[in-house]
């Protein structure tokens, strides 16, 4: 064979070996990697997010409605303009007030720092941006800036009912999660379940139907229908705000509940927060004080203790107090009345009307420590009410059998016992409805597309007799008409109520200057449509609840009467 042919053959052989080697490299060694890259190009794999459920008011209108917003991101590698130029263009869209130079500068510096991050291909610039802002930014045609849809919550009533609703934040993986209030308590049903779409797509992104598709539909979160009445909620927030200012209080709460069904129709505390801009507020404002904060109830607890005395037949409305002629010495302490005036042989009705501490100590002594403990427990004091809001606390009562004579005496007039606002509302609701302990409820039903399910509530439990409930109700009516708060009553309306001025325990002793003021009552006394608790923290305008919390209670009640169809009885 000629040499040329041999060389050519060898050359072709080498080429053939090289080709085989290259094919081996692509087909065997790089096979898995190339296969994955190809799959990424043609496979369609997408998680379909489940829309979060809405929260509705009692009339079916919205408290919270889920809407679409935009996540604005940047790919620093694709930016054509300088980071400072882009930051200056974008910052005005991300601040609430463009005239606030400091906020604008802060935002500009923040955006520039994000854009200047080296070695990254994607950085989030702003979350939950609305359609208008997105359109305006789009019009700037900044290369390297993109938008991804994301869900946001819209609050038609702004910050009204914020502490009932809670807010939607992020968990440690960056997913939406509900915190506090209803968003926290019902996070799972509100969240729904994400779906999935799998299949193949062509070069334009259109699905290839021949390739077969896998589709798991997303299950949307359920809507919550609440018992919260927008008009009552707006009313109490407005009145509470004015009351706090008028009486110089540092804060306050109002709770309105239907005593028969346990439906919470309104609940507000101030100061509060804005659920849209929750991150700008102190964490302590997220808690709902009505269910999370505890306080010594003072005189408003007297109606519960007296109801216990009446139910156990140790006292009657006309029972005379034979130790009420002066201060009562208990161990090394002297128990006095609030105004240091004493009424020998005072009746039990007048003990409530005059809010007599010595008279209440008399009832406590008649009941005995164990009996009093049992009744407090029956009224739900020291026990969580089971309200469907996240963050409820219930300070425990001192253990049964460990109460000494001083504990017994002070608990009789509401000292040395800590309660939450909602515990007190439930306890007094039991008096209002004839003796049944109910469970407070914020949500009445859950609903979705074409279905609705009522929330099953705990059946009411009888804790005192109808007679005892009627007797203590009449005492509360007398207290409202003839007690210290009689000056602010609304003539003609049958209201049962009781004031409470309580000292504030601080590090083992009572604060010498500050007191908490409260008024709890229900109306109409014979067929109550609402029970309402008003509390004010450390008011400065007066040392007595009869001059702060009571007038605020009546001011709200004055608007509730026509709204709830309550007519004057006289």
């Amino acid at each position: 064979m000629p040499l040329k042919i041999r060389i050519l053959s060898a050359f072709f052989l080498l080429l053939f070996v090289a080709l085989i080697g290259r094919l081996f490299y692509w087909q065997v060694i790089k096979s898995a990697e190339l296969s994955d890259e190809a799959k990424n190009q043609y496979s369609l794999s997408q998680v379909v997010s489940a829309p979060r459920g809405n929260i509705l008011a009692a009339d079916g209108s919205y408290w919270v409605v889920r809407t679409q917003s935009w996540l604005i991101w940047a790919n620093p590698r694709q930016l054509k303009k300088s980071s400072s130029e882009i930051a200056n263009q974008l910052a005005p869209f991300f601040v609430s007030d463009v005239t606030d130079k400091q906020a604008l500068l802060h935002e500009t510096v923040k955006i520039q720092a994000l854009l200047d991050k080296s070695g990254i291909a994607w950085v989030a610039l702003e979350q939950k941006v609305n359609d208008d802002i997105k359109r305006n930014i789009e019009a700037l045609k900044i290369q390297g800036i993109g938008f991804d849809p994301q869900e946001a919550s819209y609050y038609p009533e702004a910050s009204v009912a914020a502490q009932i609703l809670g807010f939607v934040g992020k968990d440690d993986k960056g997913s939406d999660i509900g915190y506090f209030g209803l968003e926290g308590y019902y996070d799972l049903p509100l969240s729904g379940k994400p779906g999935f779409v799998g299949g193949q797509k062509d070069a334009f992104g259109a699905p290839i139907l021949l390739g077969g598709t896998t589709q798991v539909s997303a299950i949307p979160g359920v809507d919550l229908q609440t018992n919260i009445d927008k008009r009552i909620q707006t009313l109490i927030e407005s009145e509470l705000s004015q009351g706090i200012e008028k009486y110089g209080a540092s804060g306050g709460s109002v709770t309105v509940m239907d005593p028969v069904t346990g439906k919470v129709t309104a609940m507000a505390s101030l100061p509060s927060f804005d659920p849209v801009n929750y991150s700008e507020y102190n964490d302590t404002l997220f808690k709902n004080p009505v269910i999370s904060d505890t306080f010594e109830p003072g005189s408003i607890l007297k109606v519960v203790i007296m109801a216990a005395g009446l139910d156990s037949n140790v006292v009657q409305p006309d029972t005379k107090c034979d130790i009420c002629s002066g201060p009562l010495k208990v161990d090394k302490y002297l128990i006095k009345t609030w105004n240091d005036k004493y009424h020998p042989d005072i009746s039990m009705t007048d003990v409530i009307v005059n809010s007599d501490n010595v008279g209440m100590s008399f009832v406590g002594q008649k009941l005995g420590a164990d009996n009093l403990y049992d009744y407090l427990h029956k009224f739900g004091i020291g026990v969580k009410t089971g309200i469907d809001l996240q963050g409820e606390t219930a300070p425990k009562l001192r253990d049964k059998g460990t109460w000494n004579v001083v504990d017994l005496a002070t608990a009789s007039f509401g000292q040395g016992v800590a309660v939450t606002g909602i515990e007190m509302v439930r306890a007094v609701a039991a008096i209002a409805n004839g003796g049944y302990l109910v469970t407070p409820e914020v949500v009445s039903s859950t609903q979705g597309e074409g279905w609705k399910e009522e929330v099953k509530s705990e059946p009411p439990v009888r804790i005192i007799s109808q007679q005892a409930a009627d007797e203590i109700t009449q005492m509360m009516v007398d207290a409202a008409e003839n007690g210290e708060a009689k000056w602010c009553r609304i003539p003609g309306f049958n209201v049962a109520g009781k004031t409470g001025t309580a000292q504030i325990p601080v590090s083992g002793h009572y604060d010498a200057t500050n007191t908490n003021h409260s008024f709890i009552g229900f109306a109409p006394a014979d067929h109550p449509k609402f029970v309402m608790l008003v509390t004010l923290k450390s008011p400065t305008s007066s040392p007595w609840a009869a001059e702060t919390a009571a007038p605020l209670w009546y001011s709200i009640a004055k608007d509730l009467f026509p709204y709830l169809g309550i007519q004057p009885s006289q």
Binding site: D131, E157, A206
Partner: protein, 92 residues
């Protein structure tokens, strides 16, 4: 006879090939149609959302209150309850 069988076989294979191509074309077109429909659905959902948002904003109690004030509806300072008139004389 053999020729006839051959033509039938070729024709059958041709039909199979043509139908396969046709199916592929139809599927590809359907994919594009599905994609278009998905885009239309997204646009309609956007419109629906926008209308719902407008409705929700309009029904806000704060907005209604502002509108009410603008129209001159003010909350009464106090309510007067009038007792039903009592009959002072009756016909027999």
């Amino acid at each position: 006879m053999n020729n006839l069988k051959k033509y039938i076989l070729i024709g059958f294979c041709g039909l199979l090939a043509a139908s396969s191509i046709l199916m592929t074309v139809v599927s590809a077109t359907s994919g594009a149609e599905v994609s278009d429909l998905q885009k239309q659905e997204a646009l309609l959902l956007d419109d629906k959302r926008s209308l719902e948002n407008t409705l929700v904003k309009t029904l806000s109690i704060n907005q209604l209150q502002e509108k009410g004030n603008e129209l001159g509806y003010v909350k009464p300072a106090s309510l007067v309850y009038v007792a039903p008139p009592e009959a002072v004389a009756k016909l027999p």
